[in-house]
Symmetry: C2
Amino acid sequence: MYVIMVYDVNKKRVQKVLKTARKYLKWVQKSVFEGKITEKNLKKLRDQLLELINQEEDSIYWYIMEPEFKPYRKILGKSENISNLI
Amino acid sequence: MYVIMVYDVNKKRVQKVLKTARKYLKWVQKSVFEGKITEKNLKKLRDQLLELINQEEDSIYWYIMEPEFKPYRKILGKSENISNLI
């Protein structure tokens, strides 16, 4: 699978979420990760994140695409180590 | 086209970016918009946003998919008016 992960997590917990997500995905912008990930690892990541967040306050969205998905990104302004494919 | 827009914009400018993006896309999480948009409107939105942001400091990414794209979202924690399709 290809996943774009966006998150809005309380600053008390966000560092741990960042550290955990970095094990599986690539950080590309404040509050955004993306990358290829296996179903098995996605489940692992989900379980670890569910341990870390407060589900009443925090929010994590995964946009899950098929593995061969190639993200077409258009970047306005600065970008962090990813390319502008258009 | 279907677009997922993520942004990291200085708080001095972010309200204007929000107001502008809301004219074309749906706000779904702090720093995240998504929705269907025509090429013409995407260009309009781009030009308006480029007027608003400081390209050295601010960052806007558009993930651009084909029009029939249906986002598969997995949501951990709270969500803002969008559904959890898994």
